[in-house]
């Protein structure tokens, strides 16, 4: 097979289009690149959707944790503690086992045992907890003067939050939130190693990379390719988030702007 044919056959293999059988025998470099790249579709899907939906929940959690009313504060604190205090890997296993049990109760829970929904829910809760803590930290460091100024203008409640507190909170939290986004995309590689089945060998990038490594017993080709894709993805995230960061900081003088600092990525 030429490389173009390989791309035609396997570019969308991870979501069920193209050739059904995975390549056999001698694995070419082209097959490595195409199939691992095809798996990236899942990583991007999980990361993007979880980040987008998790953002709103995270803001709610941060505001809840900052609330004076224990009825709001306690659940938010516990949620953040549970999801930040335990390994994501165990959370995946636990959630999968739960969904499997619920499936026996009602057929409504059928889709929950497949990765596209079940794993997404876990990632959603996880990123909401981590970003919630980041936003909470930012909420605490909103300058006192900003709030006082808002009070002086007669702003209260929702209006004050929307126009003063929230923009400042976002501005302060954004560098840390960028890191969280990068971690989240890295965490998506755990999905198919933690109980959720890769149905018909439709897996993510790491699934295919480890497939190649298992078959060829040569880790020096597939994992660097995976690394290449992820470094590319990380650069794209930094670019996009950097653009938002500039937007959030555009009213400030140059030297007071929050820079996005590049920190080590850590497993959760």
């Amino acid at each position: 097979m030429s490389c173009v044919e390989t791309i035609q056959a396997y570019a969308f293999r991870s979501i069920g289009f193209g050739e059904r059988l995975l390549p056999k025998g001698e694995y070419t470099l082209c097959e490595h690149f195409t199939l691992i790249g095809s798996g990236m579709i899942w990583n991007i899907y999980f990361g993007f959707v979880a980040l987008l939906t998790g953002f709103f929940f995270a803001v709610a959690l941060a505001v809840g944790k900052n609330s004076a009313n224990p009825a709001w504060r306690k659940p938010a604190e516990w949620f953040i503690f549970i999801f930040r205090g335990s390994p994501l890997f165990i959370q995946f296993f636990f959630a999968y086992a739960c969904f499997l049990n619920l499936k026996g109760v009602s057929s409504f829970f059928d889709p929950f045992t497949s990765a596209w929904l079940g794993a997404l829910i876990v990632l959603f809760c996880n990123t909401a907890a981590y970003s919630g803590e980041i936003f909470y930290g930012a909420l605490l460091s909103v300058p006192k003067g900003d709030i006082e100024a808002a009070d002086a203008y007669g702003m209260t409640g929702w209006k004050r939050f929307r126009r003063i507190t929230f923009p400042t909170m976002m501005r302060l939290a954004w560098p840390a939130y960028t890191n969280e986004a990068i971690f989240l995309f890295h965490a998506t590689t755990l999905v198919f190693f933690s109980g959720f089945p890769a149905w018909r060998q439709k897996g993510d990038a790491l699934y295919y990379a480890s497939y190649f490594a298992d078959k060829t017993f040569n880790p020096f080709v597939p994992y660097p390719i995976l690394a290449f894709y992820f470094i590319l993805l990380t650069l794209v995230i930094i670019l996009l988030f950097g653009f938002v960061n500039r937007q959030l900081n555009r009213h400030l003088p140059q030297e007071r702007r929050e820079k996005i600092r590049w920190r080590a990525n850590l497993i959760r």
């Binding site: 001698e26 390994p87 499997l100 020096f220 992820f230 990380t234």
Partner: protein, 294 residues
Amino acid sequence: MFSYCTDPSTLEGLSWLSCYLTTGKHVNLYISVIVVLTLLAITAPTALLFGFGAASAARSQFLPLRWFGKGYTSIVRGVPDIAFFLFFVIALDQAFEWMRHKVKCPDWDQPIRQGIDFVVCDAAKLPLSSSPQWVHETYGFFLAVLTFSIVFGAFAANVLYGAMQAVPRAQIETAEAYGMSNRQAFWRILVPQMWVYALPGLSNLWMVLIKATPLLFLLGVEDIVYWARELGGTKAAKFTAYPHPNWHVWYFAALLVFYLCFTKVSEVVLGRIMARLTKGQATAAGEAQRKAAA
């Protein structure tokens, strides 16, 4: 375990549970908790050592050494860590076998990579195919520890490098003014002072290390995740004296609680250490402590 456990089918309620939780396989589960703790106990200092080495290499005057230090710390960024875990276990194994092969079988003429096979001579196999089971298991565990140390060493290097940069420049200048050499200034001035700055990052790293331990399962070690899957499933239970339906939920819930307790305890202990270290320091936290006391 207990004397009344001889006939499990007659047992009820709590006594059934007490017998069930003390079967041989469950004892394996409890032993694997010790395995996890051992991993933490070995990995944390080793990673710290690696990190310290890399951080000082990154500050070295000698260019290739500096490249090595910077390269090592930055190579782990941007790439998912599990990829490293999966990669290093095979790569290290093959690297060891390759080196032994070069030493022990110099007159071997066949290529090592034959198509999709990795072939070394019998004497170079690690562990030797004749060695007992426990050697295989220990070797697997050793590989896992090394992998963890390499990956977390890079993170620790990042933290320690930052801490070294955070020590006020004036301190080093004073050391130079006293006529200390670079090496003396490094060991006598920089290293003792950097720990206060490194501690927040290192305690964060410790929490992350705790949460990374279930990944041992991916490295082929029979750890708590392995036993929880094994014992919770119906397949293994069907052929024992204690048949039960799928109890994965309960086993993983127990693991969740175990990790939550572990991180909570660590958080409290690290908080105390931090409070002790900041006492009297000229930092914002130290100032806050002084005001609270007054």
